[in-house]
Subunit: 166 residues, 2 copies
């Protein structure tokens, strides 16, 4: 235990190694992916939830999303295989276009501006195309600055999610 | 067979009776609902699909949507119980807000401008609220004039669906 700790502390800080990243299949990093996503996703909810309620509902959402379609994860890691970001993509029949389509459920990076998000997205698109998807979609909050980033990556606005409090 | 035909032909035309509609539980009208929806939904796809391919993919989409959440259908009928329109609403945990939430998958009416859509929507919202939903959402194409109608009904734009062809 002590020796392991020592070894870890000798690695350069992740901020310094992040720029030199690699994209890998993400299946071995599932725990880290969801741990990280659970933290980030919390900032998007517009409701006040207790920690317990949030974690329970987060688990139900993930389970429900995983229950349909074919899923694929990719991670970005540094040269010590440390997690830097991930993309979660799912293949299913689109509910509006009725063609095989890919959905990006998550695309997250701990260090923006280093090309990690772009590389993850490209890998997801490549996977989806190879699997026969005719298009790839994602959802972004109206006020999220990422909207511009997606637009630069060739995504156009197709539909709007409207909602009303009850 | 002949006598049935005769009887039907004696009813006033549906255009004349539609204004005097009632909202009912839609479960007995499921076949009519999906038959009607399958026709209407086809106009939204941006892909060229053969009849066979469309019907197969439509079936897969409906099956997949029905596989999670709690579903409810309401129909509008005239005084002869003839189908005029429907709403399909589903209760599940929202993937962004992590609270119980309702989704309107469909809201369709054969005769716009008679208040049928409004009545269906009100019934769906009432059901969702009673079931504990904290909000109700729907998706609408960016160019669909219904966007304005939803806005008048108190729905605000929360997110954008972006997509890219592959």
């Amino acid at each position: 235990m002590l020796s392991k700790k020592k070894r870890v502390s000798k690695l350069p800080s992740i901020e310094k190694t992040a720029r030199d990243f690699t994209i890998l299949d993400g299946e071995d990093y599932i725990d880290e992916i969801f741990e990280n996503d659970m933290k980030i996703s919390r900032s998007f909810t517009r409701f006040q939830l207790s920690e317990e309620e949030y974690e329970e509902n987060y688990g139900r959402v993930i389970k429900s999303l995983l229950s349909t379609g074919e899923h694929k994860f990719f991670v970005a890691v540094d040269r010590y295989d440390r997690y830097l970001g991930h993309v979660w993509v799912c293949l299913k029949v689109d509910t509006v276009d009725f063609v095989p389509s890919a959905y990006i459920y998550d695309i997250e990076t701990l260090f923006p501006g280093m090309g990690i998000g772009t590389a993850l997205m490209e890998r997801a698109e490549e996977w989806a195309k190879k699997k026969g998807a005719r298009k790839i979609s994602l959802r972004v909050d109206v006020s999220n600055p990422a909207r511009k980033w997606y637009s630069e990556k060739g995504y156009s606005e197709r539909a709007v999610i409207m909602e009303k409090m009850l």
